[in-house]
């Protein structure tokens, strides 16, 4: 690859913050692009994964696929997925978004499935005994109870998407990755500045969905936070 072999001093970190101050236009533009790419990818993945995962969990079917999909999803090397997306869709933002959807989809689906599938049968029976209909059970019992775990999956996936969108720079996908892969133009201080922006965006994405989760959770159900099924995974489970 092409490098400008910038020297690295502790002061480079100070320069990185100066870089942000000196180039507000560039930083804003790249951050906005980054947000747009990540946002579209998260949105598409949500649109496909949530209904499917919730529905499969509701009818308690397809556990093998729903659970193993996240194993495969976690194993997929991001750069390889982006490379294949580039081959199919050509250069540009579309293939990066496609790759990010592929990478985010399994985590969301598995968590949504496990969340709804794991709702206590007693609660559902009670709801049925109260005369609730199938869709009422889904929307008034299962979904509220499943919310923390569903959101744990969304939060994990969105942090992952924001971080991985950086790789889009390699294929000219835009976003903060453009700065990170162009050390020749922006020097190490620019690379560090863009990395800081990516980290801040990751935390921001996590926070936004945390806040949304709090708003959506009925007051009686607000408990401690739940870890996602997938990334703090397994522990022998």
């Amino acid at each position: 690859m092409i490098f400008s072999f910038d020297t690295f001093k502790p002061s480079t970190f100070v320069d990185a913050f100066r870089f942000i101050g000196d180039n507000p236009g560039l930083m804003w533009q790249k951050t906005a692009e980054h947000l747009q790419i990540s946002g579209e990818a998260i949105g598409f993945a949500l649109l496909i994964a949530l209904p499917l995962g919730v529905w499969l969990g509701h009818i308690h079917r397809g556990s093998f696929v729903a659970i193993n999909l996240s194993n495969i999803g976690r194993a997929l090397p991001s750069l390889a997925v982006i490379a294949i997306g580039l081959g199919i869709l050509g250069i540009g933002t579309t293939n990066v978004i496609f790759a990010l959807v592929v990478l985010a989809f399994p985590v969301m689906l598995t968590n949504a499935y496990v969340a709804v599938d794991g709702v206590e049968p007693e609660a559902i029976e009670a709801a049925r005994g109260m005369g609730m209909r199938e869709h009422q059970i889904l929307f008034m019992v299962e979904l509220p109870l499943a919310l923390p775990l569903i959101f744990a999956g969304i939060r994990t996936a969105s942090v992952f998407v924001v971080a991985t969108a950086t790789l889009g720079g390699v294929v000219g996908g835009g976003g903060l990755g453009d700065i990170i892969v162009n050390q020749a133009s922006y020097f190490l201080k620019g690379v560090i500045a863009a990395s800081i922006a990516v980290s801040v965006l990751s935390f921001a994405a996590d926070f936004v969905f945390w806040a949304l989760q709090r708003t959506l959770t009925p007051r009686g159900l607000r408990k401690e936070r739940v870890a996602a099924v997938t990334p703090v995974p397994a522990l022998g489970q």
């Binding site: 090397p77 294949i84 990755g177 522990l235 022998g236």
Partner: protein
């Protein structure tokens, strides 16, 4: 370095009277995926980089495990140690990989060392957390029984705690391996090692098959590694599965 020779020889295919498949074949048309290219370059591009990739991953997970294991043992005995090491490894984990490798270059150069430091750094969080959770998950009653049987601390660790923590530890290793396989492709941005190298090279030359086929191989490697580790996990800890099925 096999790739260097290809780079020096110019265009995509060493040309002995036209690419395989002829003037209008897949390679000449720059098709999405040309099997001819894969068979022609299995020996000089795909296989060597696949082996390099495995080696990079094995070294990174090996060293990462040694560090994380030692740190987890310390944190298990002295719980104050968990916070600083956990925070340190979590911090490393949040740095975008493309940037971390570049930051290390001025210090350690365009070397394997740079790649390995980065890859080891990314394994620490996963391994440390899983090993520590595994050790902490041992039921207190079991520890009391070990104590009552007169086992020393070291004996308790080796004969009781570690075997019981094994499912969590192997699960951690599995995640660390697939994560490292993924990150090692990005590491080729620094040195042309591993499966990332043909991907980056292919992206520059716009010869589609090279990066699509190598990408597919990387995905295949990751999925296979995951499957092999799942089987190994089950063979190593049959009781964990039995217990899971029982409950």
């Amino acid at each position: 370095m096999p790739h260097g020779t290809l780079l020096a020889s110019g265009p995509v295919i060493p040309n002995f009277g036209g690419p395989p498949g002829g003037k209008h074949g897949c390679i000449a048309r720059n098709g999405l995926f040309c099997w001819d290219w894969v068979t022609a370059h299995w020996g000089d591009i795909l296989q060597p980089h696949l082996l390099q990739h495995l080696k990079l991953t094995a070294i990174a997970v090996g060293i990462g495990f040694a560090i994380a294991f030692a740190a987890a043992l310390v944190a298990h005995r002295m719980s104050w140690f968990e916070t600083p090491f956990g925070a340190f490894s979590a911090f490393l984990y949040t740095i975008p990989s493309l940037a971390l490798f570049q930051l290390l270059v001025p210090i350690t150069g365009l070397t394997v060392l740079t790649i390995e430091i980065g890859l080891v750094g990314y394994t620490l969080l996963i391994l440390f957390r899983n090993i520590l959770e595994g050790l902490r998950g041992v039921p207190p009653a079991v520890l009391e029984a070990a104590d009552g049987m007169g086992l020393t601390r070291l004996q308790t660790l080796i004969r009781v705690e570690l075997p019981l923590a094994l499912p969590a530890i192997t699960a951690g290793i599995r995640i660390a391996v697939v994560t490292t396989i993924s990150l090692a492709t990005v590491a080729a941005y620094i040195t042309p090692l591993g499966l990332g190298a043909p991907i980056f090279y292919g992206l520059q030359t716009s010869f589609t098959t090279e990066f699509v086929a190598t990408g597919a191989l990387a995905i295949l490697l990751a999925v296979c590694a995951d499957a092999v580790l799942i089987i190994a996990q089950r063979l190593l800890t049959p009781w964990a599965r039995a217990r899971r099925l029982a409950t």
